[in-house]
Protein backbone atom coordinates (compact mmCIF):
# COMPACT_ATOMS: atom_id res chain seq x y z
CA UNK A 1 0.00 0.00 0.00
CA UNK A 2 1.49 3.35 -1.04
CA UNK A 3 1.28 6.73 0.64
CA UNK A 4 -1.80 7.63 -1.44
CA UNK A 5 -3.56 4.46 -0.35
CA UNK A 6 -2.85 5.24 3.29
CA UNK A 7 -3.91 8.85 3.02
CA UNK A 8 -7.11 7.89 1.21
CA UNK A 9 -7.99 5.33 3.87
CA UNK A 10 -7.36 7.81 6.70
CA UNK A 11 -9.58 10.37 4.96
CA UNK A 12 -12.35 7.77 4.54
CA UNK A 13 -12.12 6.83 8.23
CA UNK A 14 -12.18 10.49 9.32
CA UNK A 15 -15.15 11.38 7.08
CA UNK A 16 -17.26 8.30 7.94
CA UNK A 17 -16.74 8.41 11.70
CA UNK A 18 -16.74 12.22 11.80
CA UNK A 19 -20.17 12.34 10.13
CA UNK A 20 -21.37 9.50 12.37
CA UNK A 21 -20.48 11.51 15.49
CA UNK A 22 -22.20 14.61 14.05
CA UNK A 23 -25.24 12.42 13.27
CA UNK A 24 -25.31 11.11 16.83
CA UNK A 25 -25.53 14.63 18.25
CA UNK A 26 -27.75 16.44 15.72
CA UNK A 27 -28.98 13.87 13.18
CA UNK A 28 -32.18 11.85 12.90
CA UNK A 29 -33.26 8.46 11.56
CA UNK A 30 -33.62 10.12 8.16
CA UNK A 31 -29.81 10.31 7.97
CA UNK A 32 -29.32 6.52 8.00
CA UNK A 33 -26.71 5.04 8.04
CA UNK A 34 -25.13 8.04 9.79
CA UNK A 35 -28.03 8.90 12.11
CA UNK A 36 -28.11 8.48 15.89
CA UNK A 37 -28.24 4.97 17.39
CA UNK A 38 -31.50 5.57 19.20
CA UNK A 39 -32.57 2.02 19.97
CA UNK A 40 -34.39 2.16 23.30
CA UNK A 41 -33.05 5.65 23.86
CA UNK A 42 -36.22 7.34 25.13
CA UNK A 43 -37.17 7.53 28.80
CA UNK A 44 -40.61 6.39 29.89
CA UNK A 45 -42.40 7.36 33.07
CA UNK A 46 -42.76 5.11 36.12
CA UNK A 47 -46.53 5.58 35.99
CA UNK A 48 -48.42 5.89 32.73
CA UNK A 49 -49.31 3.83 29.72
CA UNK A 50 -47.38 1.40 27.57
CA UNK A 51 -49.01 1.54 24.17
CA UNK A 52 -48.85 -0.78 21.18
CA UNK A 53 -50.51 -0.18 17.83
CA UNK A 54 -52.63 -2.84 16.12
CA UNK A 55 -55.08 -3.11 13.23
CA UNK A 56 -58.70 -4.21 13.07
CA UNK A 57 -60.21 -5.22 9.75
CA UNK A 58 -63.49 -6.33 8.21
CA UNK A 59 -64.04 -8.35 5.10
CA UNK A 60 -67.40 -8.44 3.28
CA UNK A 61 -70.01 -9.26 5.96
CA UNK A 62 -67.56 -10.02 8.80
CA UNK A 63 -67.12 -8.41 12.23
CA UNK A 64 -64.05 -6.44 13.30
CA UNK A 65 -61.08 -8.81 13.58
CA UNK A 66 -57.78 -7.98 15.28
CA UNK A 67 -54.67 -8.11 13.06
CA UNK A 68 -51.14 -7.77 14.44
CA UNK A 69 -49.34 -5.92 11.63
CA UNK A 70 -46.49 -7.99 10.20
CA UNK A 71 -44.53 -8.19 6.94
CA UNK A 72 -46.52 -11.33 6.09
CA UNK A 73 -49.96 -9.81 6.73
CA UNK A 74 -49.67 -6.26 5.35
CA UNK A 75 -45.99 -5.83 4.40
CA UNK A 76 -45.21 -3.63 7.41
CA UNK A 77 -44.63 -4.35 11.10
CA UNK A 78 -45.93 -2.68 14.27
CA UNK A 79 -42.97 -0.30 14.59
CA UNK A 80 -43.48 0.89 11.01
CA UNK A 81 -47.14 1.65 11.69
CA UNK A 82 -46.10 3.53 14.82
CA UNK A 83 -43.51 5.46 12.80
CA UNK A 84 -46.14 6.56 10.27
CA UNK A 85 -48.92 7.01 12.85
CA UNK A 86 -49.21 10.81 12.45
CA UNK A 87 -49.80 10.28 8.71
CA UNK A 88 -52.63 7.81 9.37
CA UNK A 89 -54.22 10.16 11.92
CA UNK A 90 -54.01 13.12 9.52
CA UNK A 91 -55.28 11.14 6.55
CA UNK A 92 -57.26 7.97 7.47
CA UNK A 93 -57.66 7.24 3.73
CA UNK A 94 -54.01 6.13 3.84
CA UNK A 95 -55.42 2.96 5.43
CA UNK A 96 -56.75 2.26 1.93
CA UNK A 97 -53.11 1.87 0.86
CA UNK A 98 -52.69 -0.71 3.63
CA UNK A 99 -55.72 -2.62 2.34
CA UNK A 100 -54.19 -2.43 -1.15
CA UNK A 101 -50.87 -3.78 0.15
CA UNK A 102 -52.76 -6.65 1.80
CA UNK A 103 -54.50 -7.38 -1.51
CA UNK A 104 -51.21 -7.51 -3.45
CA UNK A 105 -49.62 -9.77 -0.79
CA UNK A 106 -52.69 -12.07 -0.54
CA UNK A 107 -54.55 -11.80 -3.85
CA UNK A 108 -56.50 -15.04 -3.23
CA UNK A 109 -58.01 -13.98 0.09
CA UNK A 110 -61.15 -11.85 0.67
CA UNK A 111 -60.40 -8.13 0.33
CA UNK A 112 -60.45 -5.95 3.45
CA UNK A 113 -63.43 -3.62 3.21
CA UNK A 114 -62.89 -1.72 6.46
CA UNK A 115 -59.73 -1.00 8.38
CA UNK A 116 -58.93 0.65 11.70
CA UNK A 117 -55.68 1.47 13.39
CA UNK A 118 -56.01 1.16 17.17
CA UNK A 119 -53.86 1.79 20.23
CA UNK A 120 -53.85 -0.78 23.02
CA UNK A 121 -52.62 0.86 26.20
CA UNK A 122 -51.50 -1.10 29.26
CA UNK A 123 -51.70 0.91 32.47
CA UNK A 124 -48.46 0.95 34.45
CA UNK A 125 -48.42 2.20 38.04
CA UNK A 126 -45.07 2.69 39.75
CA UNK A 127 -43.28 0.58 37.11
CA UNK A 128 -45.64 -2.41 37.51
CA UNK A 129 -48.30 -3.13 34.85
CA UNK A 130 -51.85 -3.28 36.27
CA UNK A 131 -53.13 -5.63 33.57
CA UNK A 132 -55.76 -3.08 32.56
CA UNK A 133 -55.78 -2.57 28.77
CA UNK A 134 -57.55 0.35 27.10
CA UNK A 135 -58.26 0.37 23.34
CA UNK A 136 -58.54 3.60 21.36
CA UNK A 137 -59.42 3.90 17.67
CA UNK A 138 -56.91 6.29 16.03
CA UNK A 139 -58.04 6.19 12.39
CA UNK A 140 -60.72 4.38 10.44
CA UNK A 141 -61.27 3.77 6.74
CA UNK A 142 -64.00 2.07 4.74
CA UNK A 143 -63.78 1.02 1.09
CA UNK A 144 -67.49 1.88 0.63
CA UNK A 145 -67.05 5.41 1.97
CA UNK A 146 -64.01 5.88 -0.25
CA UNK A 147 -66.05 4.69 -3.25
CA UNK A 148 -68.96 7.00 -2.37
CA UNK A 149 -66.66 9.98 -2.12
CA UNK A 150 -65.03 9.06 -5.40
CA UNK A 151 -68.48 8.75 -7.08
CA UNK A 152 -69.97 12.01 -5.80
Amino acid sequence: MGATGRRGRLVVAAVVFGLLVVGAFVGSDDHFPLGPFRMYATSSQATGQVAVVALQMKTEGSDWTLVRPSPESVGMNVAEFEGQLPRFEDDPDLLGAVAASRASLHPDEPAWTDLRIIRQSTLVVDKVPTGEVVETVLAEWSADAALDEGGS
Partner: protein, 303 residues
Amino acid sequence: MTGAQVAERPPSPSVRSRVTSAVNGWWFSPVPLARVAAFRVLVYAFLPLDVLVLRPWGAAHGYVDPALYRPLLIGRLLPLPTPTPLLVQVLQYGMVVMAVTLLVLIARDRASRLQTWLGAGVFVFYLEWMVVSFSYGKVDHDRFAFLVALAVLPTAGRAALRDMTPSPAAGWAMRMVQVGVVATYFLAAIAKVRFGGWGWVNSTTIARAVIRRGTMLADPLLNMPWTLQLSQWFILTLEFVSPVLLFVRPKVQQYIVAFLVAFHVMTFLMIRIIFMPHVVCLAAFLPLERVLNRRTTESAALG
Protein backbone atom coordinates in the same frame (compact mmCIF):
# COMPACT_ATOMS: atom_id res chain seq x y z
CA MET B 1 19.13 29.77 22.81
CA THR B 2 21.76 29.89 20.10
CA GLY B 3 21.77 28.16 16.75
CA ALA B 4 24.85 26.19 17.75
CA GLN B 5 23.11 24.63 20.76
CA VAL B 6 20.15 23.54 18.63
CA ALA B 7 22.45 22.02 16.05
CA GLU B 8 24.21 19.95 18.75
CA ARG B 9 20.97 18.25 19.88
CA PRO B 10 20.20 14.89 18.29
CA PRO B 11 17.38 15.34 15.78
CA SER B 12 14.13 14.63 17.72
CA PRO B 13 10.93 13.92 15.78
CA SER B 14 8.48 16.79 15.88
CA VAL B 15 5.18 16.38 17.71
CA ARG B 16 3.42 16.34 14.40
CA SER B 17 5.46 13.51 12.93
CA ARG B 18 5.09 11.51 16.15
CA VAL B 19 1.30 11.89 16.01
CA THR B 20 1.34 10.92 12.34
CA SER B 21 3.32 7.78 13.00
CA ALA B 22 1.12 6.85 15.97
CA VAL B 23 -2.03 7.33 13.87
CA ASN B 24 -0.51 5.32 11.02
CA GLY B 25 0.65 2.60 13.38
CA TRP B 26 -2.78 2.26 14.91
CA TRP B 27 -4.88 2.30 11.73
CA PHE B 28 -2.48 0.20 9.65
CA SER B 29 -1.25 -2.24 12.27
CA PRO B 30 -0.70 -5.29 10.02
CA VAL B 31 -2.84 -8.40 10.47
CA PRO B 32 -2.43 -11.73 8.63
CA LEU B 33 -4.30 -11.85 5.31
CA ALA B 34 -5.81 -15.10 6.57
CA ARG B 35 -7.70 -13.11 9.22
CA VAL B 36 -9.40 -10.87 6.68
CA ALA B 37 -10.15 -13.96 4.54
CA ALA B 38 -11.75 -15.74 7.52
CA PHE B 39 -13.75 -12.63 8.41
CA ARG B 40 -14.95 -12.42 4.79
CA VAL B 41 -16.17 -16.01 5.06
CA LEU B 42 -18.06 -15.16 8.24
CA VAL B 43 -19.64 -12.00 6.79
CA TYR B 44 -20.60 -13.49 3.40
CA ALA B 45 -21.94 -16.66 5.07
CA PHE B 46 -24.05 -14.59 7.46
CA LEU B 47 -25.47 -12.40 4.69
CA PRO B 48 -27.80 -15.00 3.10
CA LEU B 49 -29.00 -15.94 6.59
CA ASP B 50 -29.74 -12.27 7.29
CA VAL B 51 -31.61 -11.42 4.08
CA LEU B 52 -33.45 -14.75 3.71
CA VAL B 53 -34.21 -15.78 7.30
CA LEU B 54 -33.53 -13.20 10.02
CA ARG B 55 -34.57 -9.93 8.31
CA PRO B 56 -36.32 -10.82 5.03
CA TRP B 57 -38.80 -7.97 5.58
CA GLY B 58 -37.42 -5.73 2.87
CA ALA B 59 -38.90 -8.24 0.42
CA ALA B 60 -42.44 -7.61 1.73
CA HIS B 61 -41.94 -3.88 1.11
CA GLY B 62 -41.92 -4.59 -2.62
CA TYR B 63 -45.63 -5.35 -2.31
CA VAL B 64 -46.54 -2.41 -0.10
CA ASP B 65 -48.55 0.41 -1.70
CA PRO B 66 -46.17 3.21 -2.87
CA ALA B 67 -48.17 5.74 -0.78
CA LEU B 68 -46.52 4.20 2.32
CA TYR B 69 -42.95 4.60 0.99
CA ARG B 70 -41.17 7.40 2.91
CA PRO B 71 -37.66 7.35 1.40
CA LEU B 72 -34.72 8.14 3.68
CA LEU B 73 -32.50 11.13 2.85
CA ILE B 74 -30.04 8.89 0.96
CA GLY B 75 -32.94 7.49 -1.07
CA ARG B 76 -34.16 11.00 -1.97
CA LEU B 77 -30.68 12.31 -2.81
CA LEU B 78 -29.55 9.55 -5.14
CA PRO B 79 -32.61 9.22 -6.04
CA LEU B 80 -33.40 5.56 -5.51
CA PRO B 81 -36.46 3.93 -7.10
CA THR B 82 -39.71 3.20 -5.26
CA PRO B 83 -39.57 -0.52 -4.33
CA THR B 84 -41.39 -3.01 -6.54
CA PRO B 85 -41.62 -6.82 -6.26
CA LEU B 86 -38.98 -7.10 -9.04
CA LEU B 87 -36.54 -4.70 -7.35
CA VAL B 88 -36.68 -6.44 -3.97
CA GLN B 89 -36.23 -9.87 -5.55
CA VAL B 90 -33.25 -8.75 -7.64
CA LEU B 91 -31.67 -7.26 -4.50
CA GLN B 92 -32.43 -10.18 -2.21
CA TYR B 93 -31.41 -13.03 -4.51
CA GLY B 94 -28.67 -11.02 -6.23
CA MET B 95 -26.93 -10.56 -2.87
CA VAL B 96 -27.31 -14.24 -2.01
CA VAL B 97 -25.83 -15.36 -5.34
CA MET B 98 -22.91 -12.92 -5.05
CA ALA B 99 -22.22 -13.91 -1.42
CA VAL B 100 -22.27 -17.65 -2.17
CA THR B 101 -20.01 -17.12 -5.21
CA LEU B 102 -17.61 -15.17 -2.98
CA LEU B 103 -17.54 -18.00 -0.43
CA VAL B 104 -16.53 -20.47 -3.15
CA LEU B 105 -13.87 -18.13 -4.58
CA ILE B 106 -12.42 -17.35 -1.14
CA ALA B 107 -12.27 -21.04 -0.19
CA ARG B 108 -10.43 -21.85 -3.42
CA ASP B 109 -8.39 -18.61 -3.48
CA ARG B 110 -9.45 -17.85 -7.06
CA ALA B 111 -10.16 -14.73 -9.11
CA SER B 112 -9.20 -12.08 -6.57
CA ARG B 113 -10.16 -9.21 -8.91
CA LEU B 114 -13.62 -10.72 -9.41
CA GLN B 115 -13.87 -11.10 -5.63
CA THR B 116 -13.27 -7.37 -5.22
CA TRP B 117 -16.02 -6.50 -7.72
CA LEU B 118 -18.47 -8.98 -6.18
CA GLY B 119 -17.69 -7.61 -2.73
CA ALA B 120 -18.39 -4.06 -3.94
CA GLY B 121 -21.61 -5.31 -5.56
CA VAL B 122 -22.77 -6.94 -2.33
CA PHE B 123 -22.15 -3.66 -0.45
CA VAL B 124 -24.12 -1.57 -2.96
CA PHE B 125 -27.02 -4.05 -3.04
CA TYR B 126 -27.08 -4.32 0.75
CA LEU B 127 -27.11 -0.53 1.17
CA GLU B 128 -30.08 -0.25 -1.21
CA TRP B 129 -31.72 -3.20 0.59
CA MET B 130 -31.36 -1.20 3.84
CA VAL B 131 -33.01 1.83 2.22
CA VAL B 132 -35.87 -0.42 1.07
CA SER B 133 -36.12 -1.93 4.55
CA PHE B 134 -36.01 1.33 6.52
CA SER B 135 -38.12 3.66 4.36
CA TYR B 136 -41.51 2.64 5.75
CA GLY B 137 -41.48 4.29 9.18
CA LYS B 138 -38.83 2.40 11.15
CA VAL B 139 -35.03 2.44 11.05
CA ASP B 140 -33.05 -0.29 12.81
CA HIS B 141 -29.74 0.57 14.43
CA ASP B 142 -28.15 -2.86 14.63
CA ARG B 143 -26.00 -2.98 11.50
CA PHE B 144 -23.73 0.01 11.12
CA ALA B 145 -20.60 -2.09 11.73
CA PHE B 146 -21.87 -4.72 9.29
CA LEU B 147 -22.29 -2.07 6.57
CA VAL B 148 -18.75 -0.86 7.31
CA ALA B 149 -17.53 -4.46 7.01
CA LEU B 150 -19.21 -4.91 3.60
CA ALA B 151 -17.71 -1.60 2.44
CA VAL B 152 -14.12 -2.19 3.57
CA LEU B 153 -13.65 -5.94 3.04
CA PRO B 154 -13.14 -5.63 -0.74
CA THR B 155 -10.35 -3.06 -0.17
CA ALA B 156 -7.94 -5.56 1.41
CA GLY B 157 -7.20 -7.23 -1.92
CA ARG B 158 -6.25 -10.84 -2.42
CA ALA B 159 -6.45 -12.85 0.81
CA ALA B 160 -6.28 -16.62 1.13
CA LEU B 161 -7.47 -18.51 4.20
CA ARG B 162 -3.99 -19.94 4.80
CA ASP B 163 -1.95 -16.86 3.87
CA MET B 164 -0.32 -15.66 7.10
CA THR B 165 1.44 -12.68 5.42
CA PRO B 166 0.93 -9.54 7.56
CA SER B 167 -0.90 -6.81 5.64
CA PRO B 168 -1.49 -3.13 6.58
CA ALA B 169 -4.49 -2.99 4.18
CA ALA B 170 -6.06 -5.95 6.00
CA GLY B 171 -5.21 -4.22 9.29
CA TRP B 172 -7.06 -1.07 8.22
CA ALA B 173 -10.13 -3.04 7.09
CA MET B 174 -10.36 -4.93 10.39
CA ARG B 175 -9.74 -1.71 12.35
CA MET B 176 -12.60 0.04 10.50
CA VAL B 177 -15.00 -2.72 11.56
CA GLN B 178 -13.72 -2.59 15.15
CA VAL B 179 -14.26 1.18 15.29
CA GLY B 180 -17.73 0.64 13.76
CA VAL B 181 -18.59 -1.80 16.56
CA VAL B 182 -17.34 0.47 19.33
CA ALA B 183 -18.95 3.55 17.75
CA THR B 184 -22.29 1.71 17.82
CA TYR B 185 -22.04 1.16 21.59
CA PHE B 186 -20.60 4.55 22.47
CA LEU B 187 -22.93 6.60 20.27
CA ALA B 188 -25.91 4.56 21.52
CA ALA B 189 -25.03 5.92 24.99
CA ILE B 190 -24.87 9.44 23.52
CA ALA B 191 -28.30 8.91 21.93
CA LYS B 192 -29.77 7.75 25.25
CA VAL B 193 -28.56 10.90 26.98
CA ARG B 194 -29.66 13.05 24.02
CA PHE B 195 -33.18 11.62 23.66
CA GLY B 196 -33.90 10.16 27.09
CA GLY B 197 -31.79 12.52 29.22
CA TRP B 198 -29.59 11.38 32.09
CA GLY B 199 -32.84 10.20 33.70
CA TRP B 200 -32.86 7.36 31.16
CA VAL B 201 -31.10 5.10 33.69
CA ASN B 202 -34.01 5.41 36.13
CA SER B 203 -36.80 5.37 33.55
CA THR B 204 -38.99 2.39 32.64
CA THR B 205 -37.61 1.91 29.13
CA ILE B 206 -36.69 -1.74 29.67
CA ALA B 207 -39.88 -2.45 31.65
CA ARG B 208 -41.72 -1.15 28.60
CA ALA B 209 -39.71 -3.44 26.33
CA VAL B 210 -40.49 -6.40 28.61
CA ILE B 211 -44.22 -5.60 28.58
CA ARG B 212 -44.16 -5.36 24.80
CA ARG B 213 -41.96 -8.37 24.03
CA GLY B 214 -40.80 -10.01 27.25
CA THR B 215 -40.14 -13.76 27.56
CA MET B 216 -40.80 -16.17 30.45
CA LEU B 217 -37.35 -15.26 31.76
CA ALA B 218 -37.97 -11.52 31.81
CA ASP B 219 -41.63 -11.26 32.81
CA PRO B 220 -41.06 -12.06 36.53
CA LEU B 221 -38.64 -9.13 36.68
CA LEU B 222 -41.55 -6.74 36.06
CA ASN B 223 -42.51 -7.32 39.69
CA MET B 224 -38.98 -6.41 40.79
CA PRO B 225 -38.52 -3.13 38.90
CA TRP B 226 -35.15 -2.46 40.59
CA THR B 227 -33.59 -5.31 38.57
CA LEU B 228 -34.56 -3.64 35.31
CA GLN B 229 -33.38 -0.28 36.60
CA LEU B 230 -30.03 -1.78 37.57
CA SER B 231 -29.68 -3.27 34.10
CA GLN B 232 -30.18 0.23 32.64
CA TRP B 233 -27.32 1.61 34.75
CA PHE B 234 -25.25 -1.34 33.62
CA ILE B 235 -26.03 -0.84 29.92
CA LEU B 236 -25.27 2.88 29.87
CA THR B 237 -21.99 2.36 31.76
CA LEU B 238 -21.00 -0.47 29.43
CA GLU B 239 -21.70 1.68 26.37
CA PHE B 240 -19.77 4.67 27.68
CA VAL B 241 -16.65 2.65 28.54
CA SER B 242 -16.76 0.59 25.31
CA PRO B 243 -13.91 2.56 23.58
CA VAL B 244 -11.54 0.78 25.99
CA LEU B 245 -12.02 -2.28 23.78
CA LEU B 246 -9.98 -0.58 21.02
CA PHE B 247 -6.90 -0.06 23.14
CA VAL B 248 -6.43 -3.16 25.33
CA ARG B 249 -4.23 -6.17 24.59
CA PRO B 250 -5.63 -8.79 22.14
CA LYS B 251 -6.11 -11.34 24.93
CA VAL B 252 -8.19 -8.87 26.96
CA GLN B 253 -10.14 -7.98 23.81
CA GLN B 254 -11.08 -11.63 23.42
CA TYR B 255 -12.44 -11.82 26.99
CA ILE B 256 -14.42 -8.62 26.51
CA VAL B 257 -15.86 -9.91 23.22
CA ALA B 258 -16.94 -13.15 24.93
CA PHE B 259 -18.60 -11.06 27.64
CA LEU B 260 -20.38 -8.86 25.06
CA VAL B 261 -21.66 -11.89 23.16
CA ALA B 262 -23.03 -13.24 26.45
CA PHE B 263 -24.69 -9.87 27.07
CA HIS B 264 -26.39 -9.93 23.64
CA VAL B 265 -27.55 -13.55 24.10
CA MET B 266 -28.97 -12.67 27.52
CA THR B 267 -30.81 -9.70 26.03
CA PHE B 268 -32.25 -12.02 23.41
CA LEU B 269 -33.46 -14.47 26.05
CA MET B 270 -35.16 -11.62 27.94
CA ILE B 271 -36.74 -9.40 25.27
CA ARG B 272 -36.15 -11.34 22.04
CA ILE B 273 -33.90 -8.66 20.57
CA ILE B 274 -30.47 -9.50 19.25
CA PHE B 275 -28.41 -7.27 16.97
CA MET B 276 -27.08 -10.18 14.91
CA PRO B 277 -25.12 -8.26 12.21
CA HIS B 278 -23.44 -6.35 15.02
CA VAL B 279 -22.64 -9.54 16.94
CA VAL B 280 -21.04 -11.02 13.80
CA CYS B 281 -18.81 -7.94 13.59
CA LEU B 282 -17.54 -8.52 17.14
CA ALA B 283 -15.49 -11.29 15.51
CA ALA B 284 -13.32 -8.54 13.98
CA PHE B 285 -11.54 -8.45 17.37
CA LEU B 286 -10.62 -12.15 17.25
CA PRO B 287 -7.56 -13.90 15.75
CA LEU B 288 -9.79 -15.70 13.26
CA GLU B 289 -6.82 -16.92 11.18
CA ARG B 290 -6.01 -19.45 13.91
CA VAL B 291 -9.14 -21.48 13.22
CA LEU B 292 -7.57 -22.84 10.04
CA ASN B 293 -3.89 -22.25 10.67
CA ARG B 294 -3.19 -23.61 14.14
CA ARG B 295 -1.85 -26.88 12.85
CA THR B 296 0.18 -25.13 10.15
CA THR B 297 1.77 -22.85 12.73
CA GLU B 298 2.51 -25.73 15.05
CA SER B 299 3.99 -27.90 12.34
CA ALA B 300 6.00 -24.92 11.12
CA ALA B 301 7.29 -24.48 14.67
CA LEU B 302 8.15 -28.17 14.90
CA GLY B 303 9.79 -28.12 11.50
